[in-house]
Amino acid sequence: MSEFTGIRGTVWFRALTGQASPLPGDPKSVLTSDAPIGKEQARFLCVVPDPHGRFPCARHGEVGLEEAYTLATRVREVIDESKNTNKRPIVAIVDAKSQAYGRREETAAIFLAAAAAADAYGSARLAGHPVITLVVGQALSGGFLMHGYQANRILAFDDEGVMIHAMHKAAAARVTLRSVAELEELAKKIAPMSYDIRDYAKLGLLYKLLHVENPEKPSAEDIRNVQNELVGAIANARSGPVDLRNRLESKGAQEMRKASLLVRSKLEAQWQEA
């Protein structure tokens, strides 16, 4: 597992949009750009490290207060501009270390900022915008809830440097009173605990795993392939419902989320009787 560097987000943002700068008035840690994908203009968003950011605990690629409200602003712009016209796709490129862990953040209610970002993405999806998430690096915990997890379709690179998880290893081991070695051993047997993206893919939450030769220095062919996959995911999202039910209806979920399916069928039956 490679250490978090924050390079991949910028690399892929540039690869897909041709540039990598924030919009005027935005913090340097949020990249926003409108760029062509297929025959339309999508809005691309990415959170990247800014070593000189205003908030000391959000300088390494964490999604903090400013990042969350900036994402919410830039996503809501797309919803507002296209109320009566074509619903443009929104693409979240994800390489986010986590949420920001700081006292300032808690004092200024990062829980609400986080909800506002997720609200914007979720509201865009419900309004009919195809919201596509491309995980190119880390997608951890609250960072992913704010930026990426409300998408209609989630794509991720099939690569060792990609990780989707509820909490990074060291912290998860501490909280569950285990050593990192014990945690890794358990994670091999228990798919939802695994840090391996291929195990994550078994849960049925991903639309697709993408093979990319070199995620940190993509070739022109890599980029073309990813663009084609994004076009496919956008079309696929448009053809389905705007809620998140596809995740539980997926093939993977039939196998790995049997308990969820049981809960749903039993609760539905009892609800009708109550």
Partner: protein, 291 residues
């Protein structure tokens, strides 16, 4: 004027905090109208805990009840803080999401069905890690659907409070109700101390913890909608009031411009006294202020 905290009610009150999840849920309904769904006798428990040597519970620490509140259809989902810290696993998460989806389906059919979510939780259950995180994401999607048709009311009474991913669920709610004993925040003090050191957050400083995350502070800064005493009739009154109010004109989590400008105006070169924020951010909540 007497201090409300030690007012006459102090000795007569009926503690809500001392109730377990099932008793809390029952207390919120009009008498005799509630029925538990997928209760412990249905024995749908976590499939992941036993294989890790953790004893599961037959309701997975999540109580779902349907009935009437203030004469209107409602569902209450209560997390049991005493089981695995109220954490969200696959089963408890799906119970909550499915209950909200059923309330949404009924609301769309013309029976507005409010949801009341009782949050005593540290967030994701790490033994079920990615399925817990996914459950929270799906729950958030379902809150966004339901809250257009019927209010989603979050109540954190304490003493676990509401942390981690589930604080985002509270952030999306139509209304949030807390007691002084409850706390609401994304990262718990221990986690911040572990990640960024004791200088950033001394988690043993309980006064500081409550000054930041406590119900009184969250109410005084306009981030929640009601502060109630740990008194069952008061809690019930607040919930009935918000069920009666229905869907708010504006949800707090859509007030992006307001909160973004507030964040921009803060001096980030130093830590703030939580009290400073009370003067900068008025107690009038962003949702009620717009009505």
């Amino acid at each position: 004027m007497t201090d409300k905290r030690y007012g006459a009610n102090f000795i007569h009150r009926q503690s809500f905090i001392e109730l377990d999840a099932r008793e809390r849920a029952t207390a919120l309904f009009d008498a005799g109208t509630s029925r538990e769904l997928l209760g412990p006798f249905d024995r749908v428990e976590s499939p992941w805990l036993a294989m890790q040597g953790v004893t599961p519970q037959e309701d997975d620490g999540c109580v779902v009840m349907k009935g009437k509140i203030a004469g209107q259809a409602a569902v209450v989902v209560a997390l049991e803080g005493a089981f695995q810290g109220g954490s969200m696993g696959e089963v408890s998460g799906e119970k909550m999401t499915a209950a909200l989806d059923l309330a949404y389906a009924d609301s769309k059919k013309g029976i507005p069905t409010s949801a009341v979510i009782l949050l005593e939780t540290g967030g994701v259950r790490l033994q079920e890690a990615n399925l817990g995180l996914a459950a929270i994401a799906e729950l958030m999607g379902s809150i966004l659907l339901l809250r257009k048709y019927a209010p989603v009311i979050c109540l954190s009474a304490g003493t676990v409070g509401c942390f981690g991913g589930m604080s985002l669920a509270a952030g999306l709610a139509s209304y949030v109700v807390m007691t002084r004993e409850a706390r609401l925040g994304l990262n718990g003090p221990e986690v911040i101390e572990q990640e960024n050191g004791i200088d950033e957050f001394d988690s043993s400083d309980h006064a500081l913890v409550w000054a930041i995350d406590g119900g009184e502070q969250r109410f005084a800064t306009g981030l929640i909608d009601a502060l109630v005493e740990d008194d069952t009739p008061q809690v019930v009154d607040a919930i009935r009031r918000f069920v009666g109010k229905g869907v708010p004109a504006v949800h707090r989590s859509t007030q992006v411009e307001l909160f973004r400008s507030r964040i921009k105006a803060l001096d980030t070169s130093r830590q703030w006294e939580p009290n400073e924020l009370r003067t900068l951010w008025t107690a009038k909540s962003a949702t009620e202020g717009k009505q």
